[in-house]
Structures are given as structure tokens and as C-alpha cells.
Amino acid sequence: MKLLSSFKKELILASRSFYFYIEVIFSLVILAILLFAVPEEISTTSTQYVYLNLPKEVKEIYTDTMLESVPGIEPEEVELEADGKTYDAQLIATDEEEFYIVDSEEAVRNLAYSEQVIGAVIELDDSNQLYCRYYLQGYESTRLKNLLSILFNENMGVLEERIENQEVVSLTTDYEPLNDRENTLPPLVAFSSCLMGMFIMASYIFLDKNEGVIKAYAVTASPIWQYLMSKIFVVLVTSVVSGLIIVMPIMRFRINYGLFLLLLLSTGFFASSLGLLIASFYNNLAKAFGAIYFLIILLMVPAIAYFIPGWDPFWIKIIPTYPLMQGFKEIILPKGDIAYPLIASAGFLAGGIIVFAITNIRFKKTLSV
């Protein structure tokens, strides 16, 4: 009864404070970005500008060979603009590449500069061998420069043979990848619903500390843990609302929402307990800002590992946001591992209970007159 009253009170306060609306608006902004700015499949088409500084016959052979490698593609006459000048060009476009053959080295240089892509001039050397000069932007890595010199100026036949003879064995055959938009959901849900929850929880406590109402609560017959838990309930409600705002329009009814809510609530409980613990050490948000900022940065590090699967050191895996993001990913994957989010939820629940117990003791000990 007391807990319910505290929860109702917190709902009233949340509805009259701007933090609740900040989180909802933040979620709507994320949704808008996902729907209107992030494509389902991010384009990987590369653009190249090439000038064939070759005798006419060689030039024709080179162009014919190139067109033979992309059957069904016809070159298109286009006009390009760079640095206020117009250049004629032939466009050979495939799904992966837009290849412009221009008619001067000046055009290559200006187009590479204005479009910030690589330009190339293909020529014959003294022994009538093809070689390539590149116009780079200046910030390319040595690795890329080396690769470019190998790609054209070394024996292409050897490279091609090796690539063709490479055997690719897939470790999982029952795997359906997410599209790019869906793939960005786990870190966004983790940060908007859970980490924001931690920050908002700390903010709620500092508001109460500022008004002195914790002391008033402490001299009632209701235990402090109920005061803290009622705040967690409100943060969980906000987390669920913001999580669903982001996920539902994109995933619709293709995921297990029971599992999603379970993970969202358990991680929300853990994150808001963490927010409470931080708030127990400080009197106001300004003083706590350093600690909160450090924690948010630390908790964001696993996002790097999420987007760079090759970088996955052990220590990253013990940062709570790692299992959090992986758990969400397993939920939205068409054939995701159900056990992972279940185990992660249990872990977050257990961790949250421990942090909450410590926080409760700290709040009782740190009340002041």
C-alpha cells in the first residue's frame, strides 16, 4: 500500500517534470533518425574517376576488357562538374561501383579533390606495361597505399588466382543477418532506455535532495527502500515507453516482446540502481556530473566492439552494456539465441538486487540533518 502510494506520487512528479518528456522526445528523435536517415542497407557503392592516358588502340582494348568483366552493362555518356568546370565522362555503373572514365588528368585531379574520392591515371611505362598513378586525399593509411600499389602495379593474375582459389566455409548455416537499420537498434535501445534511466534516476534523487523531501520520508513509517523502489518503478515505466517507441515501428511484431520487456526491465532495474548508488554519494547533479560522465563513457565502450566485431577483448565483455546489447541483438535476430537474453536478464536482475541493497544501506547512512 505504501509502495503503491509512493509509486503513484512518483508518477505524478514524473508527469510534471521535464525529464520524463526529455526521454520520450529523445526516443522519438532516435526513431525519426532511424526511419528517415538510416537506410535499411547502407550503400557501399564506391566511385572512381579514371583517366586512361593510353594510345587509342590500347585504350579501346582496356575499355572492352573492362566491359567484358561486367556483362550487360553499357557505358553511359555523362557530364561531371568540379571546380566550376564541366567534364565529359563515360560512366560504367555496377551495383558496387561507379566507374567514370574522363578525358583529362586535370578532370581526374579536380573531381578527386571535389568529391573526396580516389582518382587514377592509367599509363604505359617505358616497357609498355600498364601502371597507375593515384590522386589520394592525403589522409589515407599506409596500408591502403600499399594495397593500391599492389592492386594495379603488381601481377594481377596472381592475385586473381589466389582470390578465386580461396575456400570460404561458413561456421553457421542457420544465420539470418539483420539489415543495417535493425542492426543499430541494440545500442540505441541500450543507451536511450537504460543509460538515460541511470542519468534520470540520479536527477530525480538530486531534485528530492534539493527539496529535502527524503528527510521528510525518512521520518515516516515507510522504509527507505520503498521510496527508492518507487522511483525505480517510474524509471522502468519510462524505459519501457521509450524502448517500445524505438523498437515497435521498426521491428513491428517480428520479435518476442515478452523477452524484450524482460531484458529491458532487468537492465533498467540494474541501471537505475546504479543511478541511485551514484546519487547516494553526492548532494547535487553538478557534483555528481564527473562520476556520471565517466560511467556513461565506460558503458558506451562496448558499442565500439558491437560495430567492430573483430575487436572483442575479454574486458569489454564484463562491461554491463556488452551483454545488454548482445542480448537485445539476439532478441531481434530472426533466429536469435533465446538463452542469451534470459541469462543476461537473470544476471542484470541479480546485479541490480546487489546494487540496490548497497544503495539502501547508503541512503540510510547518509541522511543528514
Binding site: 503513484k8 506520487k9 512528479l13 523531501v213 528527510k215 540533518v369
Partner: protein, 286 residues
């Protein structure tokens, strides 16, 4: 029966042996109004904080309303009420919502929030958010909230601070009325006039130590000058004289003047509590 019993109470905020209060001992009987007087930083709030469970008991024995503070029970708070010096109400909630919420946090029958709001002179303000209240209005609401659970042990920290005289008089009347109904009051203040008017006994605390505990009446008798100032008309002129209330010749002279002369004013030279405090502690109250 003692409503509050404090024995050998010490408290150090930094737990480094520098005590905010040291060796504090006192008892408060049921139905008594006890004034805890001292300047800022004397240890009043620290003592009250320990008695109300806001500060952890470090050293000493304390019982409040029959409950040992060492192992504090939430049930104790059904019996106690606390009015804070600094108003602490939810500014985003109305006066009624504030009191209604707190009324749900006790296991005992609570008072009607509207009745309490009216009692402290906030009639018609019940549906206004307290963020729009003046400092005095918030203070009155904080005071009203302390009565929500009908406490038998009532802690009041500067209950009339910042209130205009008329409202302060109303607050004092409420305290007296509650006390008549058997409520024990622990009044923390540096206002000697309210202490003098309300308290059965007062304790002077300075630098964390209790210097003296007694009733205001006894203190005045003990520390006041035993003199009477008289203004009378003699030969058509106003004459001022001072008489001892102990010396026989002065008592006879006073009787004669009362019988024969036209008395304009007559005052006993009682010491005020503030004067006694300064005399006892060597310190002012601010």
C-alpha cells in the same frame, strides 16, 4: 514514564573524535514540552537528528516513545511527528496532494489533509502547487504535515521561524492545544520568547554540551534580580524607586508607597530566558 531518555550521547560527523555533541543526558516526561535551546551550531539539530533516526546513533543510549534508537523500528514513526526548520514539501504537488501522500505512509489512523490545511491557515490553497507558495506558507504546510499521523511525540524545529506574529500565535496555540491532549513536544529553537511561553522545561546546549536543564520559572527565580521598580506620583512629580523583595525595610517601604501614593507602574525585575542563557553559557543565542 519517560517519553525520551538520552544517556551519554556522543556524535562525531567525521568519526574522528571531534564531537558535535558530547555526553548529552536528559529525560523528557510524557506530556511535557521540552525546549532545546542554543545558538546555531550548538548541537540542537544533531541531537534531534539522532532522536528522529535521521542520524545514526554512534555512542550512547537513546529511547524514544519506548523504542530503542540503536535498532530503530519503522513502527516508531507511527508515534512521532517531525516539523523541519527548512520546509521540505514536494513543490510540484499541491498542498492537498502532499499531505494526502504522507498520510498513506503510516500504519495508524491519519488526520484529514483538508482539516490540517485549514488548521494552519491555508484554507483555499489546498489545490495550489506548493512551488507557488511563499516561504511562510510552505513552513505552515510542513508544520501541518507533522501532525498527519496524530503523533504522541512531536519534534518541532523552529516552528514559528519566518511567520508573521498572528500566524506564529496560531501555531503556538496549536502546540498548546496538542500538548493539552497529552502530546509530548521536543521543541528546538533559539527563540527564547516562544520557549518561555510554551516550555515546561528548557535545556541550554552550547558547543555540544548541555549546560543546564530546568523550568523557565525556576530559572527566572534563580537568576532574576529580586527587585521591584516602582513609578509613583510624589508632590505632583513622577518619582522612580527600586525596592528589594528580600530586605524587610524595602518591603515595608514598598507597602507604604502602595498604600499612600499614586502608583503609575510597578515591575518585578525578572530576568528573561535570553539573559539567563547568556549568564549561564557566556554566549549569545545567534
Amino acid at each position: 514514564m519517560a517519553m525520551i531518555k538520552v544517556e551519554g550521547l556522543y556524535h562525531s560527523y567525521l568519526r574522528n573524535g571531534r564531537y558535535a555533541i558530547k555526553d548529552v543526558n536528559f529525560e523528557i516526561a510524557k506530556g511535557e514540552i521540552f525546549g532545546f535551546l542554543g545558538p546555531s551550531g550548538a548541537g540542537k539539530s544533531t541531537t534531534q537528528g539522532i532522536l528522529t533516526g535521521l542520524l545514526q546513533l554512534q555512542k550512547g543510549n537513546v529511547t524514544v516513545a519506548g523504542y530503542n534508537i540503536k535498532n530503530i523500528s519503522r513502527k516508531m514513526f507511527n508515534k512521532i511527528g517531525m516539523s523541519f526548520e527548512q520546509s521540505n514539501v514536494y513543490s510540484k504537488m499541491t498542498a492537498k496532494e502532499n499531505l494526502y501522500f504522507y498520510s498513506r505512509l503510516f500504519d495508524v489512523k491519519t488526520r484529514d489533509p483538508i482539516e490540517l490545511i485549514n488548521l494552519v491557515g491555508l484554507s483555499g490553497k489546498e489545490n495550489i502547487k506548493t512551488g507557488e507558495f511563499s516561504k511562510g506558507m510552505k513552513h505552515r504546510l510542513t508544520f501541518a504535515r507533522s501532525m498527519i499521523n496524530n503523533p504522541s511525540m512531536w519534534f518541532l524545529d523552529e516552528p514559528t521561524t519566518g511567520l508573521d506574529p498572528a500566524i506564529a500565535a496560531d501555531i503556538k496555540d496549536i502546540i498548546k492545544e496538542r500538548n493539552r491532549k497529552g502530546v509530548t513536544v521536543f521543541l528546538t529553537t533559539h527563540n527564547m520568547f516562544i520557549a518561555d511561553e510554551l516550555c515546561d522545561r528548557v535545556g541550554f546546549i552550547v558547543d555540544g554540551e548541555i549546560k543546564l536543564i530546568d523550568s523557565p520559572k525556576n530559572l527566572k527565580l534563580q537568576y532574576g534580580k529580586k527587585l521591584v521598580d516602582v513609578e509613583c506620583i510624589q508632590n505632583g512629580k513622577l518619582k522612580k524607586e527600586t525596592f528589594s523583595t528580600i530586605k524587610q525595610e524595602d518591603k515595608d517601604a514598598l507597602r507604604k508607597i502602595i498604600a499612600e501614593k499614586e502608583i503609575r507602574t510597578m515591575h518585578t525585575k525578572e530576568a528573561t530566558l535570553e539573559e539567563i542563557f547568556i549568564k549561564v553559557t557566556g554566549r549569545g543565542l545567534v
